[in-house]
Symmetry: C2
Subunit: 392 residues, 2 copies
């Protein structure tokens, strides 16, 4: 006797682009919060990235002023400020503080947790919102280029545990994502640049024209031109969102992770560098390493590789890091190779690594040769010297 | 500028009924584990309910013998035995031990965590499996009547936190559910009976014929007749599974929880009684209280209520508990009334309580009158006296 259980769940959410979200006449947030309440004000709490509240000292009072002008929103508790950056995910401290806020403010499954911050804070708050009362409504307001064009758009959340990146987490779509371009103005140059690495990544695997666009806009992006960055973020977020929508497997129950180009090394480098590398900086190195690997393995023409390395250098990325190499500074770091196995373990099943055969054309490989990785690292050392990065 | 994100996820799993799952010639488990592996053995770990391993002292060696006969299954670590009953959910201890097992045994998203135990253990292990690596495959083998016909079939998991039932949890379907009727033989009479309360509940709200069947089989069920219990479990599990499948809202994003008839009081009574009540025993009281409320409110005929109370008493349930009343033993316990608000908070949004107008016909109410609850409790006291329970 077998009962065959089978059903589908529909998910939908908007990724909205705006500027000056909390200026008095901006109704983006109001519209989202009040769109399907049946009587009574929308009940909300805010969790804010300490890095952001330091950089924008008026943020909390701006939010307060905005909310006091709107009777249809009820703030259930004062905003909670949490540690920013990867540290927010490295212990359960901020995760538990967020759960405590949800509990004491009586946030229920029809109320909202709004998180404003970088990708790490959004990951942590998103995980708390996903598991409290088996899931409460979560609105993401990413404050970095990286989270606006990449993780903020997606369906994943998590914290690190047992010293392993994203060991705990879920696939749960947000209620909505709001990208406020003005939040990016406070970023230092490293954080501003960091998100561009994910744009290069998604262009390399999906969109040759977008790669060309980036190639033509390295100067503008380095000068922190707002319109160029907005165009880059929208295009990158669209590619990311349509990838999730168009795949058979938005919750990644299979083995393939096509958006993870360059990421097996990036994840491990971040950890080996004690998180002094920004995620985007590690991704730039990871991309460059896999590009060199693709050349060594005969998948990719060397001239294409040079063009890609050139763009990454023009954008100001350092493509070599001491953590790439072992104690002698020459051999590949054995810990990096171990990262390949950890990546397989986290994905589950077979190892699946995206590669490109030309710009915009991705395919998968299921093993990587350790000697070729070593050769790729040496090639990368040489190419890094060939292309001086921009003066910024 | 808005990106509209929208996609569906298909979920499917089998609820399989068998006997003697680990006897050498039973291939139920093998078929599930190996059905979609592409090369290499299926990798598994087991988490076992201590209550069960005590009652069935040979269980671990039986599982060991079974696995050693099957080369296509690889046991990644020795079985983990965890505390059974609600205690397993009341702290994070067993949850973290389960995560440690997943980590150290290198259980990835394509390997399996098999849990064997009562509903509380399945809830706890299911939550660990749902959040480790953002979700690994989880097979549930419920060992009580209650979990075989109710929670084991469903899509919820969780642990208690901040002293609140299921404060942490997710909606994640299992990979498969296997109901082994032989596991029920070791249950004491209270646990054997406990699951029948959920069968009465689902019959009352969905299936008049099933209620009649239960009414006719109270004697057999009290005598622990295996075939009668199997029939009850299959029918109840089918109703439960088809409810999840047929609803627009398997993950309960809306307000209605039609399967929660009698549960607002049951959840609170369990807590007030310090978990010395079985969940099913509390549900029987909760059903009886809401039945009496339905009479007081004019929704239900008193003769129908008598018939229902009579069946619950015939099945051996005590329908009155000291926790129903305050310190004077007469007035309704104010803490119970508070449970109504906690129930609303956990659901989110409006209070929605299922009621019946006759056996098999459910409707929702959105408030409950405290004076009528008090009257219902007094009526219940009288009805309890009228119907002596069975001698078992």
């Amino acid at each position: 006797m077998v009962i065959k259980q089978k059903f589908s769940i529909d998910f939908q959410y908007d990724v909205i682009f705006t500027r000056d979200l909390f200026s008095p006449d901006n109704d983006t947030l109001i519209k989202i919060l009040t769109k399907d309440e049946n009587g009574g004000p929308a009940r909300v709490v805010f969790v804010l990235d300490a890095g952001l509240t330091q950089a924008m000292s008026g943020l909390i009072s701006t939010i307060g002023a905005y909310l006091s002008n709107h009777d249809d929103i009820q703030l259930l508790a004062p905003p909670l400020v949490v540690t920013g950056g990867e540290e927010t995910k490295n212990s359960t401290r901020e995760f538990i503080r967020t759960l405590e806020l949800i509990d004491t403010a009586k946030v229920d499954r029809h109320a909202y947790v709004v998180a404003i911050g970088g990708g790490a804070v959004l990951d942590m708050v998103g995980f708390a919102a996903a598991v409290a009362h088996r899931g409460i409504r979560h609105i993401r307001i990413p404050s970095t280029t990286l989270s606006q064009n990449d993780s903020g758009v997606g369906v994943k959340n998590g914290i690190n545990y047992f010293g392993k990146k994203n060991f705990l987490g879920t696939f749960v779509p947000p209620y909505a994502v709001i990208n406020d371009l003005n939040l990016l103005q406070t970023l230092d140059i490293r954080d501003w640049r960091s998100g561009v690495a994910e744009a290069v990544k998604v262009a390399l695997i999906k969109d040759k024209n977008f790669f060309q666009w980036i190639e033509q806009h390295t100067g503008k992006l380095n000068e922190r031109d707002t319109d160029s960055m907005e165009e880059l973020i929208i295009r990158c977020a669209e590619l990311h969102a349509s990838h999730i929508r168009g795949s058979d497997d938005p919750f990644e129950m299979g083995s393939s992770r096509p958006l993870d180009f360059g990421h097996w090394a990036a994840h491990k480098l971040e950890q080996l560098a004690g998180f002094e590398l920004r995620h985007g900086e590690a991704v730039a190195i990871g991309i460059a390493l896999d590009i060199c690997y693709a050349v060594e393995a005969g998948y990719l023409d060397d001239l294409e590789a040079d063009r890609i390395v050139g763009v990454l250098r023009q954008l100001g990325f350092d493509l070599v890091h001491p953590a790439l190499f072992g104690q002698d500074g020459k051999e590949i770091n054995p810990a990096l190779i171990k990262g390949l196995e950890e990546f397989r373990e986290h994905l589950g099943g077979h190892l699946t690594i995206p590669m490109i055969s030309e710009i915009g054309s991705k395919f998968d490989v299921h093993e990587m040769n350790h000697l070729l990785i070593e050769a790729a690292a040496r090639t990368l050392l040489q190419k890094q010297e060939l292309y001086a990065h921009s003066p910024s």
